[in-house]
């Protein structure tokens, strides 16, 4: 009786020809709001990426910006007959163009700092969970201390030391945020580490690096993506706050926060649009990211999957 007698024919085809991704897609599209938010977010990102090509003017080209057009209300026309759909700001720049360019800066600062913080936090968290013992103890105490201080405070102090600039603010945001990722990854890596497939990998004589990065890490990606989206929104908001306070980006690289700050002086004189429209753009960006993040959390939550 050889083992070939084991009933291959009797074993039915595995259920549904789906992949984890297709299953995720079907779960994600359960919520209509989330689909709308995802579309909205896609438009925001596209607009930011394509800003140089779709903006009515280059707001930083001094040749096309005229101080005579300053503080025009929405819908006005310039002297050369160009319509300013969202009005102009204090230096006569087309506000729509300024917002599109600002969005570009805000998004890239947010995404870049989130990506770097995610990478650092991920490695630190994985090492802590897999090494255990004293290494883990020391790392997690640092994380605790970091998390007990408000992110704005950390960033403010750092920027006061480092000075202004895109690179400086990204460094500040990374330092203020890496600990969230470290904690998230460690929590899920601790759970995964105890699963039998990790023990199986040890039995198979696979190296520690392979077990950590090929086996444990892919199973910790889902919570990382969720935290990553939400933290990107936080990073954008944080950068806007810092720029609004005047310690973030220099005037030469105006993000949405800086645009709001610049228009703030005119609020009381009835020229609302200079501040409000960049504010609305910021709001849409952050809200859509958060809704998408929330739905990602539901769709990627392994406990809700059957």
């Amino acid at each position: 009786m050889a083992s070939t007698e084991t009933p291959i024919a009797g074993i039915a085809a595995p259920r549904r020809a789906d992949t984890p991704f297709r299953r995720f897609l079907s779960d994600f599209t359960d919520s209509r709001l989330a689909v709308l938010a995802a579309i909205g977010l896609a438009i925001v990102i596209l607009a930011a990426l394509l800003a140089p090509w779709i903006s009515p003017q280059n707001p930083y080209d001094l040749a096309v910006v005229s101080v005579f057009d300053a503080r025009l209300p929405p819908g006005s026309q310039s002297m050369d007959g160009v319509t300013f759909w969202l009005g102009t700001d204090g230096s006569g720049r087309d506000l729509l163009s300024a917002i599109l360019y600002g969005l570009r800066i805000s998004l890239s600062v947010g995404v870049a700092s989130a990506a770097i913080a995610l990478t650092i936090g991920m490695i630190v968290g994985l090492v802590a969970a897999y090494a255990g013992g004293r290494t883990e103890g020391v790392i997690m105490r640092i994380v605790d201390i970091q998390l007990s201080l408000p992110a704005v405070l950390i960033a403010l102090i750092l920027l006061a030391i480092l000075g202004k600039g895109i690179d400086k603010i990204i460094i500040a945001l990374v330092i203020a945020q890496w600990a969230y990722y470290a904690r998230t990854v460690r929590a899920s890596a601790l759970v995964e580490r105890r699963r039998e497939y990790v023990e199986a990998a040890a039995c198979l004589g696979l190296s520690h690096a392979r077990i950590v990065f090929r086996h444990i890490l892919p199973n910790c990606i889902a919570p990382l993506i969720v935290v990553g989206t939400v933290q990107t929104a936080h990073a954008i908001a944080l950068e806007a706050t810092l720029s609004f306070l005047g310690v973030g980006l220099p005037q030469t690289e105006p993000s949405l926060g800086l645009l709001i700050a610049n228009g703030f002086d005119y609020m009381l004189s009835g020229k609302y649009w200079i501040s409000v429209f960049p504010g609305v753009a910021l709001l849409i960006t952050i809200v859509t990211i958060n809704i998408v993040g929330d739905q990602l959390r539901d769709a990627l939550n392994p406990r809700l999957q059957k």
């Binding site: 009786m1 009933p7 024919a9 009797g10 074993i11 039915a12 259920r15």
Partner: protein
């Protein structure tokens, strides 16, 4: 078998309306239960045994729904009751024990608080009288020093003791029927034996009727009076335990018993049922076991009825085992 029937289930259908289609988890289940009787409801995962239990308790949550059928407890019809009606019955006339006792127990409340609440939800008696009754219930399921244990929290009990407490809670209002869903599956052998011992005593002494849902034929053999075997949402065979386990009619029951190691000669290959249970979302036409059945032929494309093949024994099969010996004409 002339004892008074307490529970009568007729053509029970509970379906789940999922995104992927309608899963007929329970599809036309009928059985009855007499006072003091233990019915073993046996099946593998996905056979619908647990959903049957939940249907009897009115605990089926959406997307599941009781589609049709009748559940008569004494002279009351339960099918179609609203949540309010179920709440009045549940715990008083029909109670449930789960595989995980923490389904019944609240981890942050003391045992006595939980038990007194459970009593006073249904009966209007004083707290001290209720406490006394709780103490008696704990003693009855063999919990040592019940007075002290009453003021403990669930986490202070071992797994076996927790299951006893869950049984004691189920017993509080002296229900007519207890539905037990794999209550000893997670327990060790010696602890399982203790629980089975208490349950056996209870049913004999109090006339409590019990539905014991399990995958373990051996436990059913030791405990139950009658057994109903479920496969893919339907009962395929039903009858007195001895008769069914000694000479099963249905090829599925036959295969199930044959695959138990002790039924095979030591060290030889086990009799095995090939293949695996079909998905409830894509049940084949006719007999759902046909694809795995060594006796299946063209006739099995038509769903067989549950027929009485001998006194008190029914099976749902076109080609039952052992019919040559047991004459079909017996019940005619």
């Amino acid at each position: 078998m002339s004892r008074e029937t307490i529970l009568e289930v007729r053509d029970l259908r509970t379906h789940f309306f999922t995104k992927a289609g309608v899963a007929r988890a329970v599809d036309g289940v009928s059985f009855s239960l007499a006072r003091g009787e233990v019915l073993g409801l046996v099946g593998e995962s996905g056979s619908g045994k647990t959903v049957t239990g939940f249907s009897l308790m009115g605990l089926v949550d959406p997307p599941g729904r009781l589609v049709s059928g009748s559940i008569r407890l004494g002279n009351e019809e339960l099918a179609g009751l609203l949540e309010e009606g179920w709440r009045r019955l549940r715990g008083r006339r029909i109670a449930m024990i789960f595989q995980d006792p923490m389904m019944t127990l609240n981890p942050v409340l003391r045992i006595d608080t939980q038990m007194i609440e459970a009593i006073r939800a249904h009966v209007d008696i004083s707290r001290s009288a209720a406490r006394e009754r709780a103490r008696e219930a704990l003693a009855r399921v063999g919990i040592p020093s019940p007075d002290e244990r009453l003021s403990a929290y669930p986490h202070q009990f071992s797994g076996g003791m927790r299951q006893r407490v869950a049984i004691a809670i189920a017993l509080l209002n002296e229900p007519d029927v207890i539905v037990a869903d794999e209550p000893t599956t997670a327990l060790d052998v010696t602890i399982q034996a203790q629980i089975l011992y208490e349950v056996q005593k209870l049913c004999a002494e109090t006339g409590l009727a019990m539905i014991w849902i399990t995958h373990d034929l051996a436990v059913v053999g030791g405990l139950a009076d009658r057994v109903a075997v479920m496969y893919a949402g339907r009962i395929v065979e039903q009858g007195p335990v001895d008769a069914v386990l000694d000479a099963p009619y249905h090829p599925y029951t036959h295969g199930l018993i044959g695959s138990v190691p002790s039924q095979n000669r030591r060290g030889t290959r086990l009799t095995q049922i090939p293949g695996m249970a079909p998905s409830l979302l894509a049940l084949p036409e006719g007999c759902s076991f046909a694809a795995r059945c060594p006796r299946a032929d063209a006739a099995c494309k038509v769903l067989p009825d549950l027929l009485e093949l001998s006194a008190g024994r029914t099976a749902r099969c076109h080609h039952p085992h052992g019919l040559v010996e047991t004459t079909v004409g017996e019940d005619a």
